[in-house]
Amino acid sequence: MQTNQILETMRMIDEENLDIRTITMGISLLDCIDADSDRACTKIYNKVTTKAKDLVKIAETIETEYGIPIIHKRISVTPISIIAAATPDTDYVKFAQVLDKAARAVGVNFIGGFTALAQKGYQKGDRILINSIPEALAVTDYVCSSVNVGSSKAGINMDAVRDMGEIVKQTAAKSTLGPAKLVVFANAVEDNPFMAGAFHGVGEADVVINVGISGPGVVKRALEKVKGQPFDVVAETVKKTAFKITRVGQMVGKLASEQLQVPFGIVDLSLAPTPKVGDSVARILEEMGLEQVGTHGTTAALALLNDAVKKGGVMACNQVGGLSGAFIPVSEDEGMIAGVRSGSLNLEKLEAMTAVCSVGLDMIAIPGDTPATTIAAMIADEAAIGMINNKTTAVRVIPAKGKKVGDQVEFGGLLGTSPVMAVNPASSADFIGRGGHIPAPIHSFKN
C-alpha cells in the first residue's frame, strides 16, 4: 500500500466530506398482514425491532474500525397501503405511529414506507393511506411517506396527482417539517435507500441491506485539479472519483450484510449533498466553468456529472440500484441556496435539470398561499418528465406557512435552509380539475 494512497483516502474523509450517507435495512411486512389492525401493528413492531435490533450498533462499529462516517441508519418497509388494506380501518395513522415507535426503539434516523403505489389507480388502501398522510406526518418524528403517481409503463394517475396537491397543502398546514418527509414520485424504485422516498418493494427479499454513498466534495476537489481542460478529461476524472467512492460503499455494505446476516441488496451511486460548505453538488457544476448554478449550461454540466458518476460507480460494485445519480435538493445544498438567493436559479431551470439527473424538484420552499392545484400541476410536470424519459422523478416541495418569495425557511440539520421560491402565478386549476389518467407513452409497449 502506498503512502500517497493512504493519505488520499484520509483526505477524502477529513477534508472532502466523504461519507456513507446511509445504511438502509429493507424489511418486508407482508407476513405482518392481519385483518385486525392492532394485531397487525404488534406484528410490525415485533418484526422491525427484531430484524433491525443490531443495525445501529453494527453500523457504529464499522464507523469506528474503518474510520468512515456513516451519517444515517434507516429502515424501509413494504408500502403500508398494501399491509393495512386487509384491515377494516378507515385511517392508517396508527400504522405510522407503530413505525415511529419501532424506529425510536432501534435508534434509526428515519423509517420509510408510509407509502402508496397508485400509478395506475387506487386500491382501497391507497386512498385511505393518502388521506392519513397529513396527520401521520404531524404526529410522528421518524416516519417518511411517499406516493407513486405515475410510471413509464402505466402512465400518470391524474386523480392521484390532484389529490397529492391537496395532501401536500394539508401536510404543511399541520406541521412545518411534514412536507419535508413526503415525496411524490413517478417511476419510484423499490430498493432506494434515500429518504423521504425509501420503501421496500414487494419483489424484494424478506430483509435486505442497501447502501447510499455520498461525496460531492471529493468530486469537486478532483475537478479543481483539471481546471480549463476539455470535457473528456472532466468526465474521466468524475468516473475515476466515483469509482473510488463507490468501492467504499460496496465494502461497507458487504460488511454490514455479513455482520447482520442479511443479504446485501444494492449500492445507490448518488452524490448526495448536505448544507455544509464543501459538500455541494451545485459547486461541482460551477467548477466546470459556470459562474453560478442555474445559468445557461447548468443542464449540460449536470447531465455529464450524472452519467459519469454512474459509469464510474457501476464498475465498483456488484449490484447497483436505487436512484443512482446526482441529487439536487435546494435546501440541502449550500451552492443551490446561493444560486437561488442570487436569482440565478429558478424553478423552471430546476425542472429542466430534473430531466437529466436522478431525482426531481426536491426540498424547495414555495409560498404558503400556493394553490393546491398549482402544486398538483408541478407534480404532473415532473411525472411527465419521468414517464417520457424512463427515469425516476419526484416532487418534494414545502409550502411555507405565511411566507412570501425571498423569505427564509429553516428546516434544521441535514434538511438545511431554503429561500422561498417563486411559482408561476397563472392558474392550472382547470387542467388539474379534469382528473382521470394520462395514458402510458407509446415507447412503453416493448413486449
Binding site: M10, Q250, M251
Partner: protein, 88 residues
C-alpha cells in the same frame, strides 16, 4: 486483523518511542513503518497486526490519549478501506 496507523503532527522528541511503546502494551505488532516530514509535519504510517478479537474501540481510545500527550493526531483504521478504494 490488519490496520493502518497514521500519526501526523508537529515533530518533537519521542513520538516514535511513545507510539510504539503504547502499541507494545496493547499487544499490537508493527509490520511495516514509513516516516517522513511533509510540509514541516511529522508524518508516520504503520501497518499493524492486531490480535484476533481485539477491542478496536478500546485501542483507538488509548491511542487517542497518547496522541494528546504527544501533541499529534493518531488515527487507526482497518486496512481494508484503503485496499477497497485503491486496489481492484
Amino acid at each position: 486483523m490488519r490496520a493502518v496507523l497514521t500519526v501526523i503532527g508537529k515533530d518533537r522528541v519521542g513520538i516514535i518511542a511513545g507510539v510504539s511503546q503504547k502499541l507494545a502494551a496493547l499487544q499490537v505488532n508493527i509490520v511495516d513503518v514509513t516516516q517522513t516530514i511533509m510540509q514541516e509535519n511529522f508524518t508516520m504510517m504503520m501497518m499493524c497486526d492486531l490480535p484476533e478479537k481485539a477491542d478496536f474501540a478500546g485501542i483507538k481510545e488509548s491511542l487517542n490519549s497518547v496522541g494528546e500527550t504527544l501533541g499529534v493526531q493518531i488515527r487507526i483504521q482497518r486496512e481494508d478501506i484503503f485496499t477497497a478504494m485503491h486496489e481492484i
